[in-house]
Symmetry: C2
Amino acid sequence: MAASETLTAERILEATEEVLRRHGPAKATVVDVARALGVSHGTVYRHFRTKAALREAVSKRWLDRTSQTLSRFVTEDRDPEARVRDWLAALFAAKREKAGGDPELFATYSVLAEEAGEVVSEHIDELTGQLTEIVRAGVDSGVFTVTDPAIAARTVFQATGRFHDPAYAREWRKPGAEEEFGAMVELLLRGLRG
Amino acid sequence: MAASETLTAERILEATEEVLRRHGPAKATVVDVARALGVSHGTVYRHFRTKAALREAVSKRWLDRTSQTLSRFVTEDRDPEARVRDWLAALFAAKREKAGGDPELFATYSVLAEEAGEVVSEHIDELTGQLTEIVRAGVDSGVFTVTDPAIAARTVFQATGRFHDPAYAREWRKPGAEEEFGAMVELLLRGLRG
DNA sequence: GGAATGACAGATATTGAAATCTGTCATCTG
DNA sequence: CAGATGACAGATTTCAATATCTGTCATTCC
């Protein structure tokens, strides 16, 4: 039996991701997860209070991977304007790659995220927080002239929603999407500079 | 019988809107529309090839009302910057009012629009066309410094998507939405000015 | 004794048969 | 004869019976 190893929250999450990959968000059940782990479903409920909590944890994991990837631009010691550009480009690239690489899995995670409102809010707060730091660096160095870096960052994030919100995923593969993204970033940077 | 008047496409569209209002998008049938008009459903098919075509026509009507409302800002002889501001504000106000006033009807039309891809594309082309004209006026008068008014207008329209795309309707009633909209418009105007 | 189990009640999902709807067209009606 | 009808075939939806799932908890097992 695979039960030779201790049953950790981590192992349950991995099994859940696998079950979601196989069955999709509508058909993936807690019983399936338990079966995949070779335990009874009651045992899964010892680690996660509800099915919703389990799915939320999976969502969080998924979203955190993106935050992680982008965080490197925050600490870099480079021109803030270039960092805003690169941070946004990396966000778009990451999303587009995930959506294009395995559309079904991407749709699955999009459904999960839809359900997990709180987790998504926190993710967005994390991302705008990162962007705020870069914008603040730009204001401090005099490249940007906005009054409030936090508001400016939130606005830039919202303005680029079309290029990172899963609801728009089908637009990302259209020809011209790259150009549209470029025009958006340049217009926003003009706005940040003033 | 209500059939005293001639059966026009117009009358069918009105009856369809009424049926949609009553039954919602999922349950509204062509048979219902025919019944409301006191004719057989075969007669409705004489005017609209398919149910989808009928729904598209209803969507077009709905969207055209918004285009109509906004067109006045295009012809006005005023400061282009103020006109961009007002055009965007009018768009947001119109959408928010419709969504807030009768959420169920708004949801119904949102579903219809989702189905009618082509009609929505044309609507968006019409709106960005309007905005392009205002931006071009701004470039001509020297207030704006963007290279291509059409690209700039499209970008501004996309950036403000959060404030007019029905997918975001639930965000519009949140406190702070007005401020977020204001910050977005001001950042974009800074970008247009350069 | 702390972790795992599986029987259970209520909620949710699946299924397949019956009902309704879409779109066509031969026929009817003024 | 132009416009309307309603019967029809195939597609889609509805509905109720059946099966499965979620979440709990008394009991079992190391």
